[in-house]
């Protein structure tokens, strides 16, 4: 009788051990992967709308935007497109400077300012990133959405913007002040400056052809992937 109980207990322990070992594994990574390990519904209240707009953006990007950017890439050599990119990056230096200040990141603000001055003068309107060559590379870029995040404002629901792509409530609202930090609206009308912005995105797309498709291929569910990737990336940006 006792032997039976002992064997029974031994058998139970053997069965429990792997389960316990598993639970150990989960416990060891609990802190880091809490949201993933414990059953939790992901918060995405605007999911229906988001998926629709995502599908629309996906279609426009793959069928219209990227093919045009490919043609543009075929016509214009890389150093030209890099130059245009540099000029646009330089033009938005004021935004990065202001947002660094607002977050009390004075050293970073200083670097942005010196880069702006160096590149506008030596780099002929920002066409060349000479500051980088002189050993002052671009620090992590700051925008008003990140400033709001730094001030403790939560991201809010995920929110896909038509044509502009994934965003969240805080970052979308944050885009507005940044528009006023861009030099273009001060001498162009609304249509022209929108056109200029579009030109910036278009030129940038020509430098990253194929990346969207590659990332999309990896994903089991592209919408979920891009949503989470966006939010995780923003969290990192707010932190740094």
């Amino acid at each position: 009788m006792r032997k039976g109980v002992l064997i029974g207990m031994a058998a139970l322990t053997l069965c429990a051990a792997p389960a316990a070992a598993q639970e150990d594994d989960f416990a060891a990574f609990e802190a880091e992967f809490h949201a993933e390990l414990t059953p939790q519904k992901v918060s995405d209240p605007l999911r229906g709308y988001n998926r629709l707009v995502f599908g629309f953006n996906d279609f426009v990007y793959l069928r219209i935007w990227e093919p045009s950017a490919k043609a543009y890439r075929w016509v214009f050599p890389q150093f030209f497109r890099m130059g245009v990119n540099n000029a646009f990056r330089n033009a938005s230096g004021g935004i990065r400077f202001a947002n660094s200040l607002l977050q009390f990141k004075f050293k970073r603000a200083g670097i942005e300012l010196s880069r702006l001055v160096l590149n506008t003068t030596l780099g002929v309107g920002g066409l060349w990133d000479n500051a980088e060559r002189l050993g002052i590379p671009e620090p992590p870029p700051e925008d008003f959405g990140q400033t709001l995040g730094r001030w403790g404002i939560p991201a809010g629901p995920h929110f896909v913007l038509p044509l502009l792509g994934p965003s969240n409530l805080r970052d979308s609202i944050g885009m507005v002040p940044d528009i006023f930090g861009s030099p273009f609206i001060y001498f162009l009308n609304t249509y022209e400056s929108t056109g200029v912005r579009a030109g910036d995105y278009f030129n940038r797309s020509s430098l990253h052809i194929g990346e969207y498709s590659a990332l999309k291929r990896d994903a089991l569910d592209p919408y979920t992937f891009f949503r989470d990737a966006y939010e995780m990336n923003r969290k990192k940006k707010v932190k740094e």
Partner: protein, 206 residues
């Protein structure tokens, strides 16, 4: 005699603390070395133009396999909600498919690698694990890649890779979790098999 003993006892805790510091420094060096030597070896293989793409991929897998704990990654991806309820055979099958998926997507990225340089930064200790930050520097951007390592039976292995803040395990976990909210597990396996087949077909084209 007693005074000597007291003096020794007083020094011991300090000595222990100092030894503890040394051990932490050593750990950092080991973890750094693991990442650096592995990544450098992989880069060497990638830059070896004499090998065929398949040979290169096989070599790269040989190099990283001992340091990548993909069984753990598979387990963390499914989490407490799904993993414990699965039978052994389903778990094994999922892990196998998960690894294949990681490989096919990783190999596709490898082919895009040309002459980027890697910057290694100081490992950061988090609890009993380490984050090893690196940067992939290309002509127009710097991409932050953090390798997260933990220690299993004396060997440091990677359990997650975070690219520009995006954690591999978290993004897979989220996608699979949402998938399994309305579809059965077997459908997940089927979708994974399909993705692997598509991925392999794409690689063959190159």
């Amino acid at each position: 005699m007693k005074i000597l003993l007291a003096a020794l006892l007083a020094v011991l805790p300090a000595a222990k603390a100092y030894a503890g510091l040394d051990a932490a420094e050593d750990e950092k060096k080991i973890v750094s070395r693991v990442v650096k030597s592995t990544v450098d070896e992989v880069l060497k293989v990638l830059q070896n133009k004499e090998l065929s793409p398949e040979a290169r991929r096989a070599k790269v897998m040989d190099i990283i396999e001992p340091y990548l704990d993909y069984q753990l990654m598979a387990k963390l991806t499914l989490g407490r909600k799904h993993w414990p309820d699965l039978e052994e055979t389903k778990r094994d099958e999922f892990t196998k498919l998960f690894v294949e998926l990681l490989k096919t997507s990783y190999f596709e990225k490898l082919d895009l690698f040309t002459d980027e340089k890697i910057e290694y930064q100081e490992p950061v200790r988090i609890g009993n694990k380490y984050d090893v930050p690196t940067k992939i520097v290309s002509k127009d951007q710097r991409i932050a890649v953090v390798y997260k390592l933990y220690n299993k039976d004396g060997l440091w292995r990677t359990y997650d890779i975070v690219i520009e803040g995006i954690s591999l395990v978290k993004s897979y976990s989220s996608q699979y979790g949402e998938f399994l909210q309305d579809k059965p597990f077997d459908e997940l396996l089927k979708t994974m098999r399909q993705k692997i087949a598509d991925g392999k077909a794409k690689l063959k084209k190159k």
